[in-house]
Chain length 205, copies 4
Amino acid sequence: MTTAPTAKRRTDPERAQNRRNQVLEAAAVCFARSGFHGASMSEISKQAGMSAGHIYNYFDSKDAIILAFVDREAEYVSGLLRDLATREDPLEAILDDAHIHIDESLDPQPWTVPLEMFAEASRNPVIAAKLRENEEVSRAQLRALVKSGRESRQLPVDDVLLDGRLDTMISYFQGLSIRALYRPNMNRASLVEAFRVAMRALLMT
Amino acid sequence: MTTAPTAKRRTDPERAQNRRNQVLEAAAVCFARSGFHGASMSEISKQAGMSAGHIYNYFDSKDAIILAFVDREAEYVSGLLRDLATREDPLEAILDDAHIHIDESLDPQPWTVPLEMFAEASRNPVIAAKLRENEEVSRAQLRALVKSGRESRQLPVDDVLLDGRLDTMISYFQGLSIRALYRPNMNRASLVEAFRVAMRALLMT
Amino acid sequence: MTTAPTAKRRTDPERAQNRRNQVLEAAAVCFARSGFHGASMSEISKQAGMSAGHIYNYFDSKDAIILAFVDREAEYVSGLLRDLATREDPLEAILDDAHIHIDESLDPQPWTVPLEMFAEASRNPVIAAKLRENEEVSRAQLRALVKSGRESRQLPVDDVLLDGRLDTMISYFQGLSIRALYRPNMNRASLVEAFRVAMRALLMT
Amino acid sequence: MTTAPTAKRRTDPERAQNRRNQVLEAAAVCFARSGFHGASMSEISKQAGMSAGHIYNYFDSKDAIILAFVDREAEYVSGLLRDLATREDPLEAILDDAHIHIDESLDPQPWTVPLEMFAEASRNPVIAAKLRENEEVSRAQLRALVKSGRESRQLPVDDVLLDGRLDTMISYFQGLSIRALYRPNMNRASLVEAFRVAMRALLMT
DNA sequence: AATGAATGAGTCTTCATTCAT
DNA sequence: TATGAATGAAGACTCATTCAT
């Protein structure tokens, strides 16, 4: 039985990592519910099932939690792009999966917090730096994907053109998540149609 | 009767309006610098050059300032759309002015705060309501403009299709303002190119 | 026509006195409505139909208004006692008028403020001194009245006994005004009956 | 295992109760000294020997402190009446203990604050409700006591008559506490004499 | 005489953070 | 490792008072 080592509970690094995650998951819930400023350490500690003071054994400050949280979100986006890259024709896949993208963007839950992140970035330079770093990674993933898709279609792939197309796409995705917040009942079918029109133009021309 | 000309300066409504604007302009600076929550009444009062207590003669609460501020932004957007409507062919004008739109979106100053507004709306229902109301107005303006432009080109103008196209356009515009924040050095020329590609597809097909 | 002198409006002392009264009457309304602390100078100034700043031309401070107000109340009580003294048999008159005394005590309006006065006296020594001074006057009036009534009935009138009877009577009157506040629906008929029982015992035995 | 006895001091409810009492006792001092409005949370916190912020771990607001304080006073009065009820002949006991009642009423310390309570009740509905509730309890205690005393003396005990007598007695008690404030040197002996005269008339006739 | 714009000290309350246990 | 009691530095807001006009 490999469970024996866990019996020794002195500064177990695995346990510590679990505790950190526990806090981050609680933070995700609280940040979504109340925002970065609105969520108090007390609220987070209750959600995490741990005392407020104890959280400081795993994070130096509330800002440190926000930072770790921002990192986590980046991994989620990165995962989505990795999945997309495994598809046979990623460009077509983007258009085919339009309804999935739209549905995800319109679901307000997970996207409330990115909004907080952007707002926070505008006054917290550490967050801004981390956000830019994460962005760089995702952007590189998307770029590779679009580039190879366009190459196989013998479309131009020069860097400058690609940059504009990528930023336009990403802007749209992020903007959509904002609109979902205060216009939750948008007609999905027509959004999907327009999404395809715009994306086809950006990706395949 | 030498005192006559100055004697009638009692309860000057113009002066009061000026004071209100003074506060709102100070608030704009502080909100952009520190966010809605980060900007304290004390900070705003210093920027406005008047005591914190005095601000309450013009606004009932900090929330009232935020609300008035949100209204101001709406008027700015509305003005832009009104200008657009006076153009001979507004749809072509959007494409022609692409570089102007892009430049405005990339200028970080005025757009930092809308971001705050969206974030605030996700938990302050009063702000959310005001934001939706403003949105309704701008949206109606843009819709009328796009509709007549498409009609004169004999393109379909059914409501559902129009909705999707509009929401997609607006999403992109708003998303672009966010990107400008943490990717301030985007290549403008290529953004303009991609903007035209996407907008032409949405507006003229 | 004797109205001529009023045409000359330079520092008219009569006019000033009217203004003072105007403020005091406004203060009475506001104090009854909101208490000494609850009533702001702004509230009083609105009620008095005069700017807040101008009040300071007639009173040095809010405390000075309270003080003047306390004096006014004393005059009211003093007047009641003077009226009583003109009655043929004041002691019988007290018992005969029992229902009037009770009705006045139960009417919450004018008595809310005395309560404030007592409360204020417990922390404002100037008010306390004024209150004691006023009390001394009323007490002397009541004492004279009771003494002569008892003398004509050949009852003992030694000072010590009289003191106890007076303080007991006054305590009851003041206590009654308090009870009226949070027990406004007391049965008046039975109060009158008990009033007579107690007062007859104190006055005529 | 020397640490064992102290190890289990987590979330000690007794300690918490002590802290609450500590705050209430500090509040009693401050309220008596400065009144409900005059006493600041900062003043109370200093008196209680703990930070102002910490008080909010035990009370939701300053109003909650006032409310708890009002309740405490009620218990004190209720206790006095309970003691009285155990006496062989409570009615005689009231007359016998006259000097004790008078002494208690004249002691300014604990009675300063009830005055505040009444004043506060006239504009704070929550306090007013609590005060009425407490009053109901004490009144019922006193009523039962008087009723049985009168029954055993074969005196009338109809409800209406009893109401008048009770309200008159209570009015007197409460009024006495007010007089003590700004007439602290009343002659106690003569007060006791008058007290007996009035009470005997109200209770035994 | 009269205004009301303006001030600044003071109020209650919240919350990230620390520390004894 | 874990607690939660405790702190103190904010924050929004109120109000008596002053002063230029």
